[in-house]
C-alpha cells in the first residue's frame, strides 16, 4: 500500500468513529457536533474561515522561518563560542520553563495585539527544539571525520560546511519536525490572549456565542494546516537530506 494513502485511511476511520459516537450517544450539538454538522459549517463559513486561516498561517510560517534561523544561529554559537555556553544556557532554559500561556499576556502588552506578538510567541515555542537538536547534531560529529579533515588542512569554516553541517542535518531535521507541529500552538495561544483576527480569535468568538459547530470547523482547519505542514516538511526533508537514518532504513 502506498504510504501517502495511509493517513487518509486513518482520517476516514476517525471521522466514522466520531460520527458513530455522536449517533450512538445522541450527543447534543453543544457538547459534540457531528462531522456532518462541522462540514456544513465549514462550507457555510468558507470565506470567513479562509480569511482567518491566512492570518494564522502567516503568523505560523513567519514564526517558523525566524525561529528556525534563530535556533540554528544559537546552536552555532553554543558549539563555537564555548565560553558563552554557561551564560546562554540558563536564560534559554528559563524561556522554556515558563509556560507560554503565562508569558503571552505580557508579550501582548510589549509587542501589541498585531502580527508581531504572535510571531514572537511562535519563535519562543519553536527555537528551543531547533537549537537543541541542531546543537546535538553539531556536537556529535564523528571524531574520525574531523581528524581527517584537520589532517587534510581544512579550516574551521570548511570543516563546518563540508563535514559538521551535513552530519548535523538529520538531527536538525528532527528538531524541524517538532517545530512544525508546535508552531500552531504558539500562534493560537497568542491569538487566544490578544488578537483581532486568526483562527484562535474565530474560535473564541464562536465559543462566546456558543456556536460549537463553527468552533470545531476552525479547529478542523487548524488541524488540517498542521498535518499538511508536517507532511510537506517531512517530504521536503527526506528529499533534501537523503542520508538521514529514516530514509536509509526504507
Amino acid at each position: 500500500m502506498k504510504d501517502s494513502i495511509k493517513p487518509f485511511i486513518v482520517l476516514s476511520g476517525l471521522l466514522i468513529l466520531w460520527h458513530a459516537l455522536v449517533v450512538a450517544f445522541a450527543m447534543p450539538a453543544y457538547i459534540l457536533p457531528g462531522p456532518l454538522e462541522v462540514a456544513n459549517s465549514m462550507v457555510e463559513h468558507a470565506s470567513l474561515l479562509w480569511e482567518h486561516t491566512l492570518v494564522t498561517l502567516s503568523e505560523m510560517l513567519l514564526g517558523l522561518l525566524l525561529g528556525v534561523l534563530l535556533g540554528i544561529i544559537l546552536a552555532l554559537i553554543l558549539v563555537y563560542f564555548t565560553a558563552l555556553r554557561p551564560w546562554l544556557l540558563p536564560p534559554l532554559l528559563i524561556t522554556q520553563a515558563i509556560p507560554v500561556f503565562a508569558l503571552a499576556p505580557i508579550l501582548m502588552l510589549w509587542f501589541g495585539y498585531g502580527l508581531t506578538s504572535k510571531v514572537v510567541m511562535t519563535i519562543l515555542v519553536i527555537f528551543f527544539p531547533v537549537a537543541t537538536c541542531c546543537y546535538d547534531g553539531l556536537r556529535h560529529t564523528h571524531q574520525g571525520w574531523l581528524d581527517m579533515a584537520q589532517t587534510m588542512g581544512g579550516n574551521r569554516f570548511a570543516i563546518l560546511r563540508h563535514i559538521r553541517w551535513p552530519a548535523a542535518l538529520p538531527a536538525l531535521a528532527s528538531g524541524l519536525r517538532v517545530a512544525v507541529v508546535v508552531a500552531p500552538i504558539g500562534a493560537v495561544v497568542g491569538e487566544w490572549v490578544g488578537s483581532s483576527a486568526g483562527l484562535g480569535y474565530l474560535m473564541l468568538q464562536a465559543n462566546a456565542r456558543l456556536w460549537v459547530d463553527q468552533m470545531f470547523a476552525a479547529l478542523t482547519v487548524l488541524a488540517f494546516c498542521s498535518v499538511t505542514l508536517y507532511y510537506t516538511t517531512d517530504r521536503l526533508l527526506r528529499r533534501l537530506i537523503p542520508w538521514q537514518p529514516e530514509t536509509s532504513q526504507e
Binding site: 453543544y30 502588552l109 495585539y113 490572549v193 483581532s196 456558543l210
Partner: protein
Amino acid sequence: MKKLIQYTVLWAMTLMLSFSLHASTSSRASDTESAKALKELTLMLEWFVNPDHGPIIIARENGYFEDLGLKVNIQEPADPNLPPKLVAAEQVDLAVYYQPSLTHAVANGLPLIWAGTLVGTPLDGLLVLEDGPIKSLNDMKGKTIGLNIGGIENAFLNTLFAPYGFGAGDVKLVNVGWNLSSSLMSGRVDAIMGAYRNFELNQLAIEGHKGRMFYYEENNIPPYDELIFIANSKKHDKDAIRRFLRAIELGTQYIVNNPEKSWAIFRDYSPKKLDNELNRRAWFATISRFDLRPAAKDTGRYQAFADYLQEHGELEETVNAVDFMITF
C-alpha cells in the same frame, strides 16, 4: 429502710439512664433526619469567587442555606463559557451566568432556563481613561477597543455610536482576554468593553488612573441583568430553587443592612484570596447592584432585550422569554 433507699437510688438511676439514652437516641435521630432533609445543590459560579457573589457567600456563611434545608456546593470554573454547558449536560444543578449569553444559548438550542437574578443591572460599559483623548462617544470613530469577547459587541457598539452616524465597523476590535485594565493603561487600546464598573473602575483608581465609563443603559441599550442563575429547562427542582433564592434574598438583605459586617464575613470566607483593597472597594460598589428580589420574574424586560438582540442580527432563532424563564 436501707433496701428501700437502695431501690429508690437504683430506680432513679435507671430512670435517668433511660432518659439520657432516650434523649441521645432521639437527638441522633433528629440529626440524621436533618442531614437527610438537607437537599444538595451544586452551584457553579461564572468566575472565581469575588464580591459579585456576595449574597451567595453570605447565605452560606450565615447558614441561610442550611436553615432552608439546603447544602450548596460552590464550584469555580476557569472558563466562563463552561457553566452553561455543564448545566445543559445536567452535570451541575445551577450556574451563575449572564442574561445576554443566556439569550444566545437558548437561541442555539441549549436546554437552559432563567432561575433567578443575582446582579440586576448591567455592570459592563465602554471604559476610557478620564485624561485620554475620548471625551464623548463621538470621539470613538477609528479608535481601537479592547474586549473580552462576549458575543454581543457589534450590537452594542452599533447602538452606542448610532447617534453620531457611525457603527461597529468604524472601530477596531481587539480581543485582549483578561488584560482589560492593563491594555487600557498601557495605551495599547483606546477603550475597553467587558470591564465592570465595580471592578475595573476601582482597579484603575488603585493604579493611579481615573476612568470614564459610558454606561450602556444610559446610551440606548435596553437594561439587562448582569448576573443570573440558570438551571436545566428540562430537569430542575423547583422547590429547591425557590428555597435557594430565598436564602440569596436573605443574604442580599443582610448585605444591604450591614455593609461593613457583611464585608468582614465575605473577606473571612477566604482571606488569602479576598482580603485586598480592590475587593474591599468592589464590595461597597456592588451593594446597590444586587437584586433585592432574586426570584422576581420580569418577562417583558427579558423579551425586550431578546428582541433587541434579534433586531441587531445577533440571534439565529427567535426566542420567547416565557419559554426560558422559570415559573414557581
